[in-house]
Amino acid sequence: MEKILTKKALPQWLIKLNAYQIYAPVKKENHWSYEALDKPESIRLDHLNTIQSPKMIIFPQREVFFEFHNAEGNTLVMKEPASESSATVIFGVRPCDAAGVTHQDKVFDGHFKDLYYWKRRNQTILVGLACNTPPSPHCFCLSVGGSPHSTAGFDILMTELEDSYYVESFSKKGDTLISLAGDIFSTPKENDKKDKEKAHSDSEKKLKRHIKDLETVPPKLKDMFDSPLWEEESLSCIQCGICTYLCPTCHCFDINDEKDSSSPLSGKRVRTWDNCQFPDFTMHSSGHNPRPDRASRLRQRIMHKFNYFVTNYKAYQCTGCGRCIDKCPVGIDIIEVLEKVRDYGK
């Protein structure tokens, strides 16, 4: 379905969607972040890259699986928390972040379906916004199989035109969202379509960063496990969790029991994100750590994204959002590292 929505009418559309929980980018002092939108008229879609991608909504950093307590007669009672998730629409999602969702879908699907993930994911509708100008100076989606107007993962993609949005729906859920406010949309004219296509092709030219010949990297990585490159490139890495926690594709997690009381026993089983850049991520209880240093952890990050994931899922586990580059406190730049890999030994 393809429609035109005037910019002025956007809040009206949101008002009609009041049965849904709506998230949208909100401007803060120095940054943008996705937040539950309570006033439809406050919506703004001129956002730069949000610090966190919508991963934080679909795969939240903390999630309670169940609560437990020891009841009379020493029986353990377990209870799932009341379901908090309702149908959710995330507005203004950038194509790289939607691609991130499709990568997570691959991981949480397959042999072991992650019920907790899919409960949320199935109720989530992604309404995207094509990037007419790159929202980050480090965007490089074109190099990793995406584009500033990619439709992957979207139910709806909007493209900003002069005073309207070109709205394309790719799913039933998307069609429903449009039909809920059918009268405020109009049918696109031939020149709207042309404008949209022009915006799309122009946007590709505005990207500042690229990696040439990235396809040569995965096969090369297979022989680089013991390369000294990892040590050289990781010298300044402080092993914080920024690059991985903020990445829209990183999905590692940990499960812990959080005890509220020991006697009588009560607490919660909780899933939280975990992070391959933390020294304790691979720490064994024996005290042995198979990834003992920065070099091995940077290697893991690159190997997972550009070697193992490619083998397993036929895609890079990177969507070119540029967050890890922009936010790394010591300026480690994944594009530079990949270029070094590509040119290694040449």
Partner: protein, 343 residues
């Protein structure tokens, strides 16, 4: 003002002559204008060395890695490491010396003075130059910076884009060094703790609302901890596993490890983490404000440390990072320490 050529020459001299094993300094990034930490092993690499108002990092942090690496080597190279150090950073060196974490012979300090200004704050720069592409920021002799954008060069008053901590800095040149470039820069800021006043004047409720909002944002990436030159403990209460675990540590001991803080980034757990961090840095934090700069979530962490710096001064007349011979704040006391709060 430091002449970059002089700095390069000094660095080359000690690297070429073999006085130091390598030099920790700054270089330009592949893209953008904010300098990044760099490790120079060969004299010819030093052509890439830079010194400008974007050299925000406190490189003293990397002495932790150096120490840990050395501990793991059978026959370590005992020569010192060369390191480029600003005024605030130099006090971090002093704290590490005071705590006997490093020895004076371990470091060769290339001190650089910030002169009349200091370091820029990237957030302020971005706001000031909305969307413009910046290629370079330079020091000037006066209290301003020269910013080069695609549209040319402009002179910007330092006050508009430099870090708050630099406006409250007293010693903008290194207090310990082997060579000093750019001369002394001792300042007398009108109010060295001025940035705290607004917060202090709030009611308890307002303060709580502020911190609750701020610390709830924390994603516990621990960048604030990892970037801090003072956070060198092998074992941290927030980690899920105890690093003081050895192959012969008995299972009971491992099982009994107390979980002081949960991994969940909830308000209560984030508060424990940040309160512990702040307390642990009392009398040690040199206000390089790296934690705040590194934080991806825009949390004003510097306030917490600055508050304790202020109280250490007020209550115990303690200055951080000037004297390596005195005992540290927490491992000392005076008979006249205040006790009016004690019943």
């Amino acid at each position: 003002m430091v002449a970059l050529e002089d700095l390069k020459q000094e660095a080359k001299n000690v690297l070429e002559g073999g006085t130091v094993k390598y030099i920790i300094g700054y270089k330009k990034p592949a893209v953008g204008f904010m300098a990044v930490p760099a490790f120079f092993h060969k004299p010819e690499d030093l052509d890439a060395l830079v010194w400008d108002p974007t050299c925000v990092h406190n490189l003293v942090l990397f002495l932790k890695d150096e120490k840990k690496k050395k501990l793991g080597q059978k026959e370590p190279d005992e020569r010192p490491v060369g390191i480029v150090v600003k005024g605030c950073d130099s006090r971090a060196v002093n704290v590490l010396l005071q705590e006997n974490y490093i020895d004076r012979e371990n470091v060769y300090i290339l001190g650089v003075s910030c002169g009349k200004t200091g370091m820029v704050d990237l957030k302020k720069v971005r706001k000031y130059f909305k969307g413009k592409i910046i290629s370079q920021i330079d020091f000037n002799e006066n209290e301003s910076f020269t910013v080069t954008t695609t549209e040319g060069k402009v002179e910007v008053p330092a006050a508009d884009i430099f870090a708050v901590r630099c406006t409250e800095c007293i010693t903008a040149s290194p207090v310990i060094h082997d060579v000093l470039l750019g001369g002394d820069s001792v300042r007398t800021p009108e109010n060295p703790f001025g940035s705290l006043e607004e917060m202090e004047s709030k009611s308890q409720g307002q303060k709580w609302d502020f911190w609750q909002e701020q610390l709830t944002k924390c994603i516990r990436c621990y960048a604030c901890r990892s970037i801090c030159p003072m956070c060198y403990c092998d074992e941290c209460v927030v980690d899920t596993i105890n690093f003081a675990v050895y192959p012969d540590t008995p299972a009971e001991e491992k099982a009994q490890k107390i979980k002081w803080v949960e991994k969940s980034p909830t308000t209560s757990e984030n508060f424990i983490y940040h309160m512990v961090r702040a307390i642990h840095l009392a009398g040690r934090c040199v206000d390089c404000a790296e934690c705040e700069r590194a934080c991806p979530m825009d949390i004003p962490l510097r306030f917490l440390n600055k508050k304790l710096e202020k109280e250490s001064k007020k209550l115990f007349d303690y200055d951080v990072g000037y004297d390596t011979e005195i005992p540290s704040l927490i491992s000392s006391f005076r008979d006249e320490d205040p006790e009016d709060f004690i019943r």
